[in-house]
């Protein structure tokens, strides 16, 4: 079976600095893959390459068997890829409903309807309400995004990505800035939402090893731009050297 996402010998250089070097990974349908590694290991760079935000210096990225070179985020979004950013991204002056609605409009292919009233579109509002319900935002539909709490902003960011009904979703540290106590709740919501939305694969960048251990089918550890390990959780956590590199080197965020 073709992997949903695959990289072949991908590198990203900034001048002489190799942020990523010769990365070959694959993620298949049905997988929950975590990407771990110390700060500066290249995790965000990898997500940016996988989602077409960055162009690799060498190598290729494939999405559903197609090279994504030159495809662009909009086409990837309509073909079934969604992502969130490490720093929470919102539309400050849009309400929760409008934020989710923007993605629903894309998914339903209605973006060129210039004269039809958005509010009268039952299919859009029904889907918005459904997505908001999954993320516990149903009471906040009419609230401006910038007035939400930090945690709600995170949820909304993810909710709008889910509203694309993607096949694969890439989450770059979705629990950063969330208290340790809340992290499990947030992850539960995310994974539940992914199931409800029929997402085929999740790629998660995460520092919290507890979360990584409880949800992943496979863990990819990056260190200084290279793949240090690409293992199922049992094998991963059985190797103290890897854990040392991933966790030991971490100093704050």
């Amino acid at each position: 079976m073709t992997p949903l996402i695959e990289t072949r010998g991908v590198s990203k250089h900034y001048g002489a600095f190799r942020a990523l070097d010769d990365i070959s990974i694959a993620v298949r349908a049905g997988e929950f893959v975590s990407i771990v590694g110390p700060n500066g290991a290249g995790k965000t760079t990898l997500v940016n390459l996988l989602t077409g935000l960055l162009v690799p210096t060498n190598g290729e990225v494939y999405f559903k068997g197609e090279n994504i070179a030159g495809v662009g985020p909009v086409a990837l979004a309509t073909r079934g890829m969604a992502r969130t950013f490490q720093l929470v991204q919102i539309f400050p002056q849009l309400t929760v409903a409008e934020t989710i609605g923007a993605a629903v409009v894309t998914h339903q292919g209605k973006q060129w309807r210039l004269l039809s009233p958005l509010l009268a579109d039952e299919a859009i509002s029904a889907r918005v309400a459904e997505i908001a319900g999954i993320f516990g935002l149903e009471q906040r539909l009419a609230t401006l995004s910038r007035l939400l709490s930090q945690g709600e902003k995170k949820l909304l960011d993810v909710a709008s990505a889910f509203a694309l009904q993607p096949q694969v979703i890439l989450l770059d540290e979705p629990t950063s800035g969330v208290s340790t106590a809340e992290k499990h709740t947030v992850m539960k919501t995310l994974v539940g939402a992914a199931r409800a939305a029929g997402v085929d694969a999740i790629i998660l960048v995460e520092h919290d090893m507890d979360l990584v251990a409880s949800y992943s089918h496979r863990i990819i550890a990056l260190s200084e731009g290279k793949v240090l390990a690409d293992l199922p959780p049992d094998a991963f956590f059985a190797d103290p050297a890897i854990i040392e590199t991933v966790v030991g080197k971490r100093r704050g965020h």
Binding site: I90, T95, L114
Partner: protein, 348 residues
Amino acid sequence: MRRAPSVILIVAAVVALGLVPVLAPPFYANLLVPFYGYAIALLGFNLLFGYGGLLSFGHAMFLGLGAYGAAVIAGVWGIKEFEIVLIGAALAGLVVALPLGWLVVRYTGIFFGMLTLAFGMLTHSVLFKFYHLTGGDSGMRVPRMRLLGLEFAAYNKIELMAGPFYYYCLALMLIAAFLMWRIVHSPFGLHLRSLRDNAQKALYLGVRVHQFRLAAFVISAIYGAIGGAILGFRTGLADPELVYWTHSGHLVFMTVLGGFSSFLGPIIGALALTLLQDQLQSYTQYWRFVLGAILALVVIFLPRGLAGLAADVGSFLSSPRRRPGPVQLPEHSQPGVLGPGLRRDDVA
């Protein structure tokens, strides 16, 4: 429910505008004709600015395009049907804005502003220099035209302006406003606002950032050209002053004065400035100075413009407990723009 008072207000305003030629001397109706031209142009301008987040400092070039278009179609070609002139102006706006927009919407913020400014100045110098085609600084005459095929031969120019043409422009503005209302409240309008707020996130939600900016640019150009055709008919002249950068600044001024974050703001700004300028000019030769001071005060004290002020006063007066103290900001800081979100009743 929530919208009822504003609907009543709008109907009242339209009735009041409709009564101007009946109740006031022709001077006032004649004075308001340019207001309609500006109001239409600014509805388009604010699709780009208020909803798309792109502030053009060269938008007067499209007004000029409409006025020169009228001069060419009616004056040079002798087609004196104003409807054909309007369609011609709209097409000219479309044809010019497509390639120009394709280039400039790749830039945002100050770069977009500077690029549009540059193209506006370029247009100005072209009009100025090509004397044999454009009449240089004396411009081109825009002849009197027929409205809906009617000559109105019994009316002199002032009577035409203060009567039939006044109502023609009022109707045109209402149609333009209705269409724009539909546009900003459509799925397209939502995508446009999302890319204004955060283009990167919008891209990843499948928003075609460049295409939508281009569409907004083209629509705003069409509105500008139609407004310009009205201005040209009113003054009987298309001259380079119309596209001069100060005129573009004038458009920005009206929009900020009225409030770019509300749908009706630009119309209110156009009306306020038209009346204000008339009054100030009759009082003092330093009217530009006073206007500048007013703009500064508006930016500092009324960032949401007159429309924002009106909304605050309205919500203060209609709040059940009218206790003194700071006016409560509504949760939606942009009532006209954002609406109440998707309907709450849709939530089971």
